[in-house]
């Protein structure tokens, strides 16, 4: 990386000619120092993320005999099992995102209407799960939903059902577990953006005779859409690459994209095929985030700084 790339926008004007050289040297020294501060982190990210992913991408371009080919990618369209994996993944992602919107919007709306003091208490319910291990929460849902789990025991004790319901190890249990894990990712950015909606707009609407419902529908809801969109995108993207919950709660029947990658590489040691899956996953993820960034000009990583 070139040190000379530091910006020197204050230098170079003719009337500052006398000091220009000294200032320029100063700025260059400054830039070099800042770059030195940045470099350890950048080097690490580059070595651990960029290099291996580039390497995997390279691998994905060769077939098993070492010839350059698109076989690893063609497989996705040809083999039914891959197509099924993609369909399952998108189905889970859409369902979980939908469930998160249905559950998260009312919660975020409620939070945005409560006084600050009450909010700081209610937010604990969102932030504590957010920072609780995904494994712990998946385990909890296994305990709740399994054959002899809480729900089945309760329902049988109440006499509602005679036989335990097949709640665990299927599509529904994966969706429930993942919704629980993804919900904070939707609620936090949504709540933050709802907070910025100017109450005067709502008050004006009501002063002009709009009913509370009409005020919500015509003023609040449209203004909350950008925040909702950022939550939806981040949840959807995280769902596409999610591993832990489907692996533990899918009972081997719900094979999602990330599980497929793990199987292909760990079980079958087919690095080319696994890498190709990873490349497509990354491309889809980045495309969605890029589209979102372009449409709304917001950064999806905001959720982590808005805790």
């Amino acid at each position: 990386m070139s040190v000379a790339s530091a910006s020197l926008d204050h230098a170079g004007r003719p009337d500052a000619a006398l000091n220009t050289d000294a200032l320029r040297a100063d700025a260059r020294r400054e830039a070099r120092g800042l770059l030195a501060l940045l470099s350890p982190g950048l080097v690490l990210v580059f070595a651990v993320i960029i290099v291996p992913i580039g390497w995997l991408f390279w691998l994905s371009l060769f077939d098993e005999s070492g010839e350059l080919s698109a076989a690893n990618y063609a497989r996705f369209f040809e083999q039914a099992s891959y197509i099924k994996t993609f369909v399952t993944t998108f189905k889970v992602a859409f369902t979980v995102t939908g469930a998160c919107v249905l559950l998260g919007y009312p919660l975020a709306y409620m939070l945005s209407q409560l006084p600050r003091r009450a909010v700081s208490i209610c937010l604990i319910f969102v932030i504590l799960p957010f920072w609780t291990s995904v494994l712990v929460r998946t385990y909890a849902w296994l305990v709740i939903l399994q054959r002899k789990g809480l729900v089945n025991t309760w329902l049988m004790d109440l006499g509602v059902i005679g036989q335990p319901l097949p709640l665990a190890n299927n599509f529904a249990s994966v969706v429930i577990g993942m919704t629980h894990i993804m919900l904070p990712f939707l609620v936090l950015p949504l709540y933050a953006s709802m907070r910025t909606i100017d109450v005067d707009c709502l008050r004006a609407g009501m002063n002009l005779g709009a009913s509370p419902a009409a005020t919500f529908r015509q003023i609040f809801f449209p203004l909350s859409l950008p925040g909702l969109a950022s939550g939806v995108v981040i949840v959807f993207v995280l769902c596409l690459g999610f591993f832990v919950t489907p692996a533990l709660m899918g009972g081997g029947k719900v094979i999602m994209w990330a599980m497929r990658m793990e199987q292909t590489t760990s079980l079958y040691s087919n690095w080319g095929a696994g890498a190709a899956l990873g490349v497509v996953l990354l491309a889809v993820t980045l495309a969605l985030l890029g589209l979102f960034h372009r449409l709304l000009g917001a950064r999806a990583t905001g959720v982590w700084s808005e805790r």
Partner: protein
């Protein structure tokens, strides 16, 4: 500026909203509460509420050499990750905040990449890289991988601290003759130390709870707690995991409260 009673809608008219929000909050918190309560059960059946109480699952956790070793590995890795990620992340946040470098967008994107790139891809990639350089199943390898994952959180946390700090103070110190480093450590750092500590706590918890990458790159003597839990869950539902989970939940609560406390001191 108060938002209280902003609109002429009474709380009574909003009851349905509070009920709905309350249910969602219950959905979010109930699983953790259930696990904590069940971890004190006396029977090996997972029943709720437990018929009898005991600490046997905690004894089985702390009494098992395997679980203890895995816990020690996780603690070691998390402590080292917190230290390394905080150092690198604070330095990077400081440099980004100065805004004199070009390509800030690219630098930001690189530093926060691990939040966006699917973790499974990072896991497979790291495993593949480590296999070449002999870092699989080592503490060093784990610390490096976890540091990359924790770095964005430290950068974002410290950056938000720096944004609410007036950098001119450091400039004044330097113009009065303080060197760059002493200006930072004597003037800037005391004022952003709370963000730095919060960042470190987030880094610790990120590492301690990390599952996917550890599944690929840890094993043998360096098996992390989460990896062992994951494997145990794949086989059967061992109530010992309820006790371990409770410890993890308590750890999260402690670290979050600490971060909150430090955040308020800002």
């Amino acid at each position: 500026m108060s938002m209280e009673n902003a609109l002429p809608i009474s709380h009574r008219q909003r009851l349905w909203l509070y009920a709905l929000g309350g249910l969602v909050m219950l959905f979010l918190i109930a699983p953790s509460v259930i696990i904590v309560i069940m971890s004190f059960s006396g029977s090996s059946l997972l029943e709720f509420p437990p018929q009898e109480w005991s600490l046997r699952w905690y004894e089985s956790y702390f009494g098992s050499v395997e679980w203890r070793d895995a816990t020690i590995v996780s603690v070691k890795v998390a402590v080292m990750t917190a230290i390394v990620a905080t150092l690198l992340g604070t330095a990077a946040a400081y440099a980004i905040n100065a805004r004199t470098l070009r390509l800030t967008g690219l630098i930001n994107a690189l530093l926060t990449a691990s939040l966006i790139i699917p973790v499974i891809l990072i896991g497979i990639g790291t495993f593949f890289l480590y296999a070449r350089i002999g870092l699989n199943n080592t503490l060093t390898g784990l610390v490096i991988a976890h540091t990359v994952q924790a770095l964005p959180l430290v950068v974002l946390t410290v950056l938000s601290g720096l944004r609410s700090y007036d950098m001119n103070q450091e400039m004044v110190a330097r113009s009065l003759g303080a060197g760059r480093f002493s200006a930072f450590f004597q003037v800037t750092m005391p004022q952003i130390r709370f963000s730095i500590v919060s960042g470190a706590l987030f880094a610790f918890i990120t590492s301690f709870d990390e599952v996917v990458v550890s599944l690929f790159i840890s094993g043998g003597e360096t098996t992390t707690l989460t990896r062992r839990m994951f494997n145990a869950l794949r086989d059967q539902i061992d109530p010992t995991i309820a006790a371990i989970s409770t410890c993890l939940i308590v750890l999260s609560i402690i670290l979050l409260s600490a971060a909150q406390l430090f955040g308020r001191g800002r």
